[in-house]
Every structure is written in structure tokens, then in C-alpha cells.
Point group: C2
Chain length 408, copies 2
């Protein structure tokens, strides 16, 4: 039984240029950390990610939800988590502050993630194993399909999971081989050309075959020059992703994306405002076969549904520490699978939690094991930091979701 909850505001200032992008010039990577203390001695830990200012607001909102868990057994909570999630995210007064977005939804993510973590710890298994061992029925019971019914009901999700059961064995080899990573730290916005060159070489030497460059400069020529420079250094085979962090409006995005096409980007990420379904749809049509990726700032399953329906996102970058936690992440992954679109999470959690989730997405849903973003900035602060060898995530073995932080 959960006898106590605590929510902590954990902030980690970064080195000068790391983490910078076109819009977030001075981030302080921060977590609203929910801890659920169980009488059995386990502590469930859940994270929501922010960039510093206002992390305290997320903590206060998380506490609002977390308090309700006191006196409850985690197995009972998770047996009907889908209904609980629906009820909490539609709290009659609190939902006005969203609904399903912003501070309150980040808070729900933190608490939800703590629930899944405690569940796995209490069962003594890593989260990926807990999820894989659940029956499709039990898994679907933890999800909420409200407002998705025009595309996917709980029954549809169950059918999808069941249909993938036979081939699961063939995909389990990834547990030994590990999930591929990509290096997101090659080209932060503030890095000089020289740094980008040398980071690229280091990434290739470390075994990565996919890397990212930040674009979205005031001066588009800077973006274009750096993108072609990186292609030159990396060679034609390496996958290069370009990330504009919402810095363009539609007319500018059209113009710049067309100039970037010839360096063959694997995707162009967050070209414009994360709420702008129509702009992404128009852009995707105009710049095809160049593909768009987005999700870092998309708050909920309803907006993701819209991006899938309009065929504007070729890669879904849902982040389980931005949407309503593991539950909504899995719901969006199922929906993406229905549309045949790969899930390549943004990792506000630095990959700690997502390394579990992408294994489940691949094995249980049949999602392609493309690659998972790797950001090492907070490595030293985690109790069980992710382990990357030759560009591949080693499968975590510790019980839980690998989100415990040192000193928190």
C-alpha cells in the first residue's frame, strides 16, 4: 500500500552550450519528480521534464494528483488505470487549466510514470518486461481511448496487440542485441562549425550512424551552410536529422526546407508551431519526399490523432514525460501503429524511461526498431544511467523504469 507521496523539484544547470536550440537558448534541464512510497519498501519514481522556470508549478500540480494515491495498493490502481487516468485528466475543476495540456498534464505524466515504476519494482522486473508479460487485455485496461473512438477503440487496440502476438518471438532478439541509438548532441544551436565537425567525427567513431543538427536560425543561410557541411563530414550514408524547434512560420518553412532537401535529411523536425495541424499538412505535401517529424511539444493523443489523420507527421516523437505518461504514450503508439507511422520518442527523460517503452513498442506492437534519441547530459544524476555501447542501448535489467535520481 502507498503510505506517503513526495514531489520534488530537481533542476540541473547545463554546461554553457549543451542543450541549446533555436528557441531554448538557456535551458536548465529539470524534473518534477513524483515519489510513491510503498509499505513494502519500494519507492515508485516518475518524471515530467521542463526547462527550468515553472518546474515548481508542475510539482504543485503533481502533488494535487499524487495525494489521492495514499492508502491504495498499486496492483489495484493499475488493474483499472485507464479509467483512473480518464477520471483524473477530466477532473471537473482542474481540467479547465488544460484540458490535457500544459502544467496539469505534465503533472499527470509525473504521477502516472511513478505508478508504472512502482508497479514494476513491486513485481521485481524492468518495466519493459512487466509490459511484455501483461496480457493484451490487462495492458489495454491501463489505457484511455476517449476522444480516439473515431480511429481506435479499446477493442481495436486489443485486436492489434493480439494480432502481433504470434510474431513476438521473432522480435525478442532485440533484448540481446540492444536498441539502436542516435546522437542528438552533434549540433546544438550554439556550437561553432568546428565543434559540429569534431562532434560528428566523435559520434561516428562511437558507433552512431544517425545524428542531429539544430537549425532554425534567424539567418536561414547559416542553417543551410551547416547542414551541407555536416553532410560533407558525415558522408552520404549517415542519417542526418534537422531540428528547427518551431522557429519557422509556414512561408519560411517552405522556403528553407526546399533548400535543405538536396542534403537528404532523414527528417526535418518541428518546422513550425506544434498546434498547427494545417501548416504541417501543407508543408508535408509541398516538400515530399522530404519527411517531417514532430511530437516534442505535442501534449496529447487528440493532437497526435490529428497529425496522423492528416498524414503530416512521418515520424511520431511522442514523449512520455510530456504527454500523460506511460499510459498515454502507449495509447499514441498503438494509434501510430494503426496508421503505419514509426514512433521515435523525444527523450525529455534522457532515454531512461523510453528505452523500456521502445522495446515494448517493437516487440508487442510490431513497431520498427528505428533508433532512440541519446542525450548524455544528465547521465551522472541517475542511479541506473542508460548504457550505450557502439551506438546501441543495452537492455536495462534493474526493476522499474530506470528513473531514480541520485540524491532525490
Amino acid at each position: 500500500m502507498i503510505y506517503k507521496v513526495a514531489v520534488q523539484d530537481a533542476r540541473y544547470p547545463l554546461d554553457k552550450s549543451a542543450g541549446s536550440d533555436a528557441i531554448h537558448r538557456d535551458p536548465v534541464y529539470s524534473y518534477a519528480v513524483t515519489q510513491l512510497l510503498d509499505e513494502g519498501g519500494w519507492t515508485g519514481t516518475g518524471l515530467a521534464f521542463t526547462l527550468g522556470a515553472g518546474n515548481d508549478l508542475v510539482c504543485q500540480a503533481a502533488n494535487y494528483y499524487a495525494q489521492r494515491l495514499i492508502g491504495h495498493d498499486i496492483e489495484a490502481v493499475m488493474a483499472d488505470f485507464g479509467n483512473l487516468f480518464r477520471a483524473w485528466s477530466n477532473d471537473p475543476q482542474f481540467r479547465w487549466l488544460g484540458p490535457h495540456k500544459g502544467v496539469v498534464h505534465l503533472a499527470l505524466a509525473s504521477v502516472t510514470n511513478a505508478c508504472y515504476d512502482l508497479w514494476a519494482k513491486k513485481r521485481g522486473v524492468p518495466l519493459w518486461k512487466l509490459l511484455l508479460d501483461l496480457s493484451p487485455e490487462a495492458l489495454v485496461q491501463t489505457l484511455d481511448f476517449s476522444y480516439l473512438e473515431d480511429e481506435m477503440t479499446a477493442e481495436d487496440a486489443l485486436a492489434l496487440l493480439t494480432s502481433q502476438q504470434n510474431d513476438r518471438r521473432s522480435r525478442e532478439g532485440i533484448l540481446q542485441s540492444g536498441y539502436p541509438g542516435y546522437d542528438t548532441s552533434v549540433g546544438w544551436f550554439n556550437y561553432s562549425d568546428e565543434q559540429v565537425r569534431s562532434n560528428c567525427q566523435q559520434a561516428l567513431d562511437a558507433g552512431f550512424s544517425a545524428i542531429k543538427l539544430k537549425v532554425g536560425s534567424e539567418d536561414a543561410e547559416r542553417d543551410i551552410r551547416r547542414a551541407y557541411l555536416l553532410r560533407e563530414v558525415a558522408g552520404p550514408e549517415v542519417k542526418i536529422m534537422l531540428d528547427a524547434n518551431q522557429q519557422w512560420n509556414l512561408p519560411k518553412a517552405k522556403a528553407v526546407c526546399k533548400k535543405l532537401a538536396a542534403m537528404n535529411p532523414f527528417w526535418i523536425e518541428e518546422p513550425t508551431h506544434p498546434d498547427d495541424i494545417q501548416a504541417h499538412q501543407t508543408l508535408a505535401q509541398e516538400i515530399a519526399p522530404v519527411k517531417l517529424a514532430l511530437g516534442e511539444h505535442v501534449p496529447n493523443k487528440v493532437l497526435f490523432k490529428n497529425y496522423l489523420q492528416t498524414q503530416s507527421a512521418a515520424f511520431i516523437q511522442v514523449d512520455a514525460v510530456r504527454v500523460g505518461g506511460v499510459s498515454e504514450f502507449l495509447t499514441i503508439s498503438l494509434l501510430s501503429k494503426k496508421f503505419g507511422i514509426p514512433v521515435v520518442p523525444h527523450v525529455g527523460d534522457m532515454g531512461q524511461l523510453h528505452q523500456h517503452l521502445v522495446l515494448f513498442n517493437h516487440i508487442a506492437m510490431g513497431h520498427k526498431a528505428l533508433f532512440l534519441e541519446h542525450i548524455p547530459h544528465l547521465k551522472k544524476h541517475f542511479v541506473h544511467p542508460v548504457r550505450i555501447n557502439h551506438g546501441v542501448y543495452e537492455t536495462p535489467q534493474e526493476p522499474g523504469s530506470s528513473c531514480d535520481l541520485l540524491g532525490v
Copy 2:
């Protein structure tokens, strides 16, 4: 010069059934109240509206913005408010909590509204007069068109306002005749059939010719019965609006809306999730000529642009205490005018602020003077409560935006 700021958490419990709808069963109407104290003795007051829980979070976030105004002169602030609004709403760390939605955007609304209020008080005029007296250039300087450029730039907005200048005189008569109101309190969700009947009669007796009924029941038959009952009592000429408060998913909305068509609703409001552009587009096409209205929960201009582009909203219910205040309200009104869609605000402010804004929309933009929602619940708490006579709002004459609250 602004020498001090204060943000207050003002909550007003309601009578038992007033204010109830299909999703908000137990609202506590609340304001995050920003006050800007000017050395000249004026206090600028701005509101954001919530339903109770979490109003404190909005207050904290508002204080984050408001502190920056200390030491500044309001005339200087407003001379370049569009750029300030863009900078604040894209604060490099804080925007992660949105962007442009949820707690942080509600907070920005409160502070923005306080700025406009102080500006009008210092000039000694009601807000509607301040706005009408500004040159189109000066008005546009207070707005931010970022992410709207594919549909409207600052230059386009200027051209629109300028083109309406010649006919303004012909629309100024409304300042004498008053802006029509509609009665939103006839059919709250929890009211019995008998109450709905008698409220309808009272509304007609009070001079209203447009009234609203809450729908969105678990049992659709209840909605249908009540809607036809209200039509029977009101007669064929009265405009009846039906409000589902997001309670339907798309399949259910289709089914129920088709059954409601024959009672000739003037609009059906918030049929489903406020982020679901595609669902509204599909529904609007399927139930035409029945029209949809929405905006109460739409957080920003980017989503409104999407609703306009997809022709899914026939009435734009933008609320200046939900989006980023007067500035974003006017931006969205200009965009709506471009699309030929009327603006009929939701009034979280109980009409106090919006009575000024709809006068400006009508006279300066040429928006049709349809009607403004009227909710009397908090009347006794305002220093200058709206005055409704024979269903018409009397034009306010006091300096400012009529948002001062007693005892706050």
C-alpha cells in the same frame, strides 16, 4: 510608472446548480487577478478565469510575468506591446510549460488584461473608446501575428482595419442602442425540466431573444427531450444554442447532432474535444446546415487559425480571459473577420471585459453585432457590473475595462 504589482486568488462559490454543465459539475468561478499599481494613483486590473482548483497556479505564473512590469510606464509598454507579447509568450524556459496554452497562457492573459486596463484608466476612457481612438497602426503594434503569416501578417491586419475606417461612423450607433445579449442561464445541466421551462419564460420576459441549453448527457435521449421541450416553450423565432461542453466523441456527436437538427438550433457548441480539428471538420460537413460554435477551451490563435481554415467553426467563441488576453483576442477577431466568421465570445469574465471588445470588433472591424453571452452569477462582486436592459448591454462609461472586483 508601475511601482508595484499584486496577483490575487479570488474564488466565488456558486449556488448549487448554477454554472453546471456536462463536464464541469461543481464549478467555483475563480479569477487570477493581476493588479498593476501606477504612481499616478491608477490600478490596472486584469483577469484570467478558472473553475477553482489550480487557480493558485495561474496566480503564481502571472506573478512571474507581472514582476517584469515594475519600473515601466504603461504608455511605453503598450506602444510596443506586440513585441513584448511575443517575447513573453516565447520565454525560453517558461514556454516549455505551454507553449501558448494552459496555466502559463492563462497567466499571460491576466497580466495582458491588466496592461490594457491600466492604459485605458490612465487615459481616462473606457477600453472600447481607447481602442477605437487608436490609429490602425497603433492598434496593430499591440498585436503579435507570429505563426499566422500564412493567413495574416501585420500588414494585412492594417489593411483590413484601414478598409473599415470609412464605414465606422455608420456602426457607431450601437454605442447608443447597446450591444444585444443572450441568456446563457436558462438551461444549466443540473436544472430540472420545470426550471428550464420557467427560466425560458423569464428570459423572454426580460427581453432576450436568444438562449442556451446545456446538453451532453450520458443519455442522449435526455438532451433531445430537453432541446425539443425548450423549442416548444420558446417558440419558433427564438434562437436556441445547444452546448455539449466536449462530452461527445465524434461517432456520438454525429448521431446526436442529427437528431437535434429538427429543433433548429442556432448552433451546437463544443461538440467534442477542443483540440480535435479533424473531428470538427468532419462533423461540420456531415451535419450542415446545422452550425458549430467553439472557442471556450481553445487556447491560442494557432488553433483558431486551424478551425477557420478547415471551415469547421461557424462561430468563434474566443475568450479574452482564456487566450493571451485582449491582444490575442483582437488578433483572433481580425483573423476571423478575414474568414467572414462572426466572433461571439465565451465570457469567463461575465461580459465585463468583452462588452468593450465586441463594440470594438463591430465598429472597427465590421464584425456583425450578433449578441454577447450574459451570465449574472458574479454580478455583485464587480465594482461596475454590466448593465443589461431589455436584453441589451448598456455601453459602459467608466474608465478602464470594467474588471475591478470589490474587496480585491
